[in-house]
C-alpha cells in the first residue's frame, strides 16, 4: 500500500477471482497499461536509437543492476515466510549476485548481472569507469529507490513482491529479448557482448512458472488480489519510469536532471 485509501467493505465484499482468472487479469493489466512497453526499448528494437543513446542507457541503468535489483530482491526474500517460494527467491538472488557465488557447490561461473552489464558496455565502446562514474539521471534514481523501499517495507507484502517480480519478468521477457535481437542484428553488437541478455532471459524463463503458481495459490482472497494487482501495476510503472530519462534525451525533449555527485 502506498498512499491510497484502504479498500473498504464494498470493495472487499466482491468474491475473489479464480486462480486462472487472476493470472489472466494481471496479464490484461499489463497490456492495458503498457501495450507497447517502455518507449526507449521500443526504439532500440526498431533500430531508431543511436549507439550513443544505447551507451547512455548502459551508464544510466548500471546502478539498477548493481544496487537496486540486488536490494529489492533480497528485501522481498527477507519477508517471505513460505519456504517453497523463498527457495525460488534465494535461487534468484544467486542469479542476480552471480552464480559464481556457489561455484564450490556447482562449478557455475556466471558473474553478477552488474558485471555482465559492464561487459555489455565494454562491448559497445565504453570503459568501466565511463559506466561506474556516471551520475544517474534523477528520474532513474527515484525509480530505483522506489523499488528498493517498496520492496523493503510495508508498501508491498511478500506476495505483492512476487507480483512485482512477475511484472518485471513479463516485461523483460518481451522487451529485453526484442532489444537483444536488434542489438545483434541491427546494430551489429557481437554476441559475446550480449551475454547479459542471454543470462537474464534464461533466468526469467526459469522463474515465471513458480511466480504464476505462487500468485495463483496465495492470492486467494479479494484483498490479496487487489493489493498484488496494484503492486504488479506499480512495478510496471517503475520499469517504465526507469527508462523515461534516456528516452527524453534520445528524443531531445529535455535534458533531465542528474543526481548530485
Amino acid at each position: 500500500m502506498g498512499s491510497q485509501l484502504p479498500y473498504g467493505p464494498e470493495a472487499l465484499a466482491a468474491p475473489a477471482k479464480s486462480s486462472a482468472d487472476f493470472i489472466a487479469f494481471l496479464k490484461a493489466e499489463r497490456q492495458r497499461k503498457y501495450p507497447d512497453g517502455p518507449a526507449f526499448l521500443a526504439a532500440v528494437a526498431a533500430g531508431e536509437a543511436s549507439m550513443d543513446d544505447i551507451r547512455l542507457w548502459v551508464k544510466d541503468l548500471y546502478d539498477y543492476w548493481d544496487k537496486g535489483l540486488v536490494y529489492a530482491t533480497g528485501a522481498v526474500y527477507t519477508k517471505t515466510n513460505d519456504e517453497p517460494i523463498r527457495t525460488h527467491m534465494l535461487r534468484r538472488m544467486v542469479d542476480v549476485e552471480g552464480e559464481e557465488i556457489v561455484n564450490d557447490l556447482t562449478d557455475w561461473d556466471t558473474p553478477a548481472y552488474e558485471e555482465l552489464w559492464l561487459r555489455f558496455g565494454e562491448g559497445i565502446g565504453l570503459t568501466r569507469e565511463d559506466v561506474t562514474g556516471f551520475q544517474q539521471f534523477t528520474r532513474t534514481y527515484f525509480s530505483m529507490r522506489t523499488l528498493m523501499t517498496y520492496s523493503r517495507y510495508w508498501d508491498w507484502t511478500w506476495l505483492d513482491g512476487v507480483a512485482t517480480w512477475y511484472a518485471a519478468d513479463l516485461q523483460w521477457r518481451e522487451y529485453y529479448a526484442a532489444a537483444r535481437d536488434a542489438l545483434r542484428d541491427t546494430y551489429g553488437v557481437a554476441e559475446t557482448a550480449l551475454e547479459f541478455f542471454r543470462v537474464l532471459l534464461e533466468d526469467v524463463d526459469s522463474h515465471i512458472g513458480w511466480e504464476e503458481e505462487g500468485l495463483a495459490y496465495w492470492a486467494c482472497t479479494t484483498e490479496r488480489q487487489l493489493t498484488a494487482a496494484r503492486a504488479f501495476r506499480e512495478r510496471l510503472d517503475i520499469e517504465d519510469q526507469l527508462l523515461v530519462a534516456v528516452q527524453e534525451v534520445r528524443t531531445g525533449d529535455r535534458l533531465p536532471f542528474q543526481t548530485p555527485a
Binding site: 540486488v70 536490494y71 533480497g74 528485501a75 526474500y77 527477507t78 519477508k79 517471505t80 515466510n81 519456504e83 523463498r86 527457495t87 534465494l90 535461487r91 538472488m93 544467486v94 549476485e97 552471480g98 552464480e99 557465488i101 556457489v102 557447490l105 556447482t106 557455475w108 523493503r152
Partner: protein, 244 residues
Amino acid sequence: MATKPDRKALSPGEFIELMEQTRFEFNEGKSPFRGDATGGRTFEQIAEGKRKFHTGGDPNHRFEGERYLNVTDKHIRRKQLRKLVDEGGQTTVGGPMPSHPALARWHSNEFGVTNEEIDQLEMEDALPEVLVKEGWWFDVNRSSPWPVAIASCMVGEGSKRLPGSVEHYTKLIADARVEFEKLGVKNVDRAVQLLIEHAPFGADMEHAQFGEEVVRAAVTTPELQDEAMRAFILTMQRNSRGKV
C-alpha cells in the same frame, strides 16, 4: 567545557579476546556450546520441544536476510548470500543439503510430528517470550550497522571456533544417535542432520570464520566495538534459557 579524551579502538585481536573473556565470564565457567544439557528426555518430551520450536514459524531467513540487506560492502554481502544458501538450502542451486528449516522438519518428523502439524504450528501465534526474544533479534540485525549485525553471530556460530568444540559436537551427535536409537527413532541420520549442520564440521565452521573475518575487518572503531559488545552480551542473554 572538558572534552573526553579521544578513545582508540582496540586492535581486532584485542577486541576478539575481550569478546571471549566476556563470554567466559557470562557463562560462569559453564560450556559455551549448545546442547550441553540435552539428553535423558523421553520421545514425547522431545516431540513436545519440537512443537514449541515450530510454533510461530522459522526465523532464520529473517535475521540472516536483514544482515544481507544491510551490508554495503559487496564482497561481504556476497559471502553473506553464500551463507544464506547454506542455511536456506544448498538444494536451491543443486547442492546436497536442504535448508535448515527443512532439516528441522526432518528431526520433528522422526519424532512423530508431521508436516501437516508443523504447517499448522507455523501459522500460530508465537509464544509471548519467543515473540519478544525474536523481535529483538530481528531488530538488532535490522537496525544495527552491518558489522555489528554480522558480529552478533560470534555468540552462536562463533563459539564453534573455540577449543573443544569439535570434540563436544562429535560426542553430542554420537550420544544423540545412541539415544535416538534407544527411543525407537526410525531414521537416525535424518534426525541428527541439523545437529551436524550446526557442528563445527558442518557449514557452521565456515560461518564462524566469516563472523570473525567481519569483526577483524569492519568492527574497527570504538563506537562499533561498543555496539558489537552490547549486541554480543544481549545475544547471550537471549540465548540463556529462563534467565531473561
